[in-house]
């Protein structure tokens, strides 16, 4: 393979792996990398092959661009799907990511669960709520059967409001905590 075709095949592959980016972004990246390869080969008098090797595997290079984009998009998003996808990607890179991923799942499950119970309360009023016995919490949530007397439900229909507020707050905190972690992970790539 001649030096030119070697470079062309590297750039073609790079273009291919930069799929999710816009065409303009992709072409700009390819143009910049191609300028780098020419300059670097000229400067060192070395072969294109050496320069390409120093640049690193093309898949890795493209993945760094793609991860940057994914995390940048997610850190401004409110969608649990987008956020979970970015956290999942982060989780493949190390302990910090794995921790963030599990906390994210936990936060979404707990917050979403609470909101769900608030919606169930009007349908199953006797089975949903917070039960107390002698001033101590016995159980809470949607229960079949509900705890027996002397335990009694304390919130009544107020449960809807309490569960909605707590649930939404948990979801909100989870969302912002994930976004913050994603931004931090970008700044401190060492943690990835």
């Amino acid at each position: 393979m001649t030096a030119e075709t070697q470079m062309e095949s590297y750039l073609t592959e790079l273009r291919l792996h930069l799929g999710p980016l816009t065409i303009a972004e992709r072409e700009e990246i390819v143009r910049e990398i191609s300028a780098h390869v020419r300059d670097s080969a000229e400067e060192s008098g070395g072969s294109i092959e050496t320069v390409l090797a120093r640049l690193g595997p093309v898949k890795e290079l493209a993945a760094q661009y793609r991860d940057g984009l994914l995390i940048r998009k997610a850190s401004g998003s409110l969608s649990p799907l987008v956020l979970l996808r970015a956290t999942l990607r982060l989780a493949t890179k190390g302990i910090f990511g794995i921790l963030v991923f599990f906390l994210a799942i936990l936060g979404y499950a707990f917050g979403g669960g609470l909101v769900l119970t608030a919606l169930i309360k009007p349908i199953l009023p006797a089975n949903t709520g917070v039960w107390i016995e002698n001033g101590r919490l016995v159980d809470s949530g949607v229960l079949f059967p509900p705890p027996a007397s002397p335990a009694h439900e304390v919130l009544g229909m107020g449960y809807i409001l309490v569960a909605l507020i707590l649930g939404s707050m948990t979801l909100l905190i989870t969302t912002f905590a994930i976004r913050r972690s994603l931004r931090l992970s970008q700044r401190w790539q060492s943690l990835l």
């Binding site: 700009e28 300028a35 120093r54 060492s190």
Partner: protein, 129 residues
């Protein structure tokens, strides 16, 4: 041009902690390269090699530049060069200068504190040597 000390010997991998430390400082170092004026990617890589011990796979710098630009800390422009192809030059934005100043302050404060903490360790090493 490159500082020999900055290059690890062949096959010698800096240990993981050290590698993380370097990566963590890379964003600040990249911004710092541009403090005096615009540079293109390869110049930034060579600048980092000769002024700091942050040796990196050459490909690493470009996604970082891309991200710093997306964050509004850098701007870029294509400039025609004698080489026959244009080069993408980066410069700091006002936000970038501001961020870098804050980072430099925090870094100096942090490293002074640590140096103080490590003084006895280094003194002891000298005695042993």
């Amino acid at each position: 041009m490159a500082n020999k000390r900055a290059l690890p010997a062949d096959g010698e991998q800096p240990d993981r902690w050290e590698a993380q430390l370097r990566k963590g400082a890379l964003e600040m170092a990249t911004l710092a390269c541009l403090w005096r004026g615009r540079l293109y990617g390869l110049e930034i890589i060579r600048f980092l090699e000769s002024h700091s011990q942050l040796v990196l796979a050459e490909g690493t710098i470009y996604p970082i530049l891309n991200r710093l630009k997306a964050e509004g800390l850098l701007t870029s422009e294509w400039v025609e060069a004698e080489a026959g192809h244009p080069r993408k030059y980066y410069s700091l934005t006002d936000a970038g200068r501001q961020r870098l100043s804050l980072m430099a302050e925090a870094w100096t404060c942090f490293s002074k504190g640590l140096s103080h903490l490590l003084e006895p360790v280094l003194e002891q090493q000298e005695i042993h040597q």
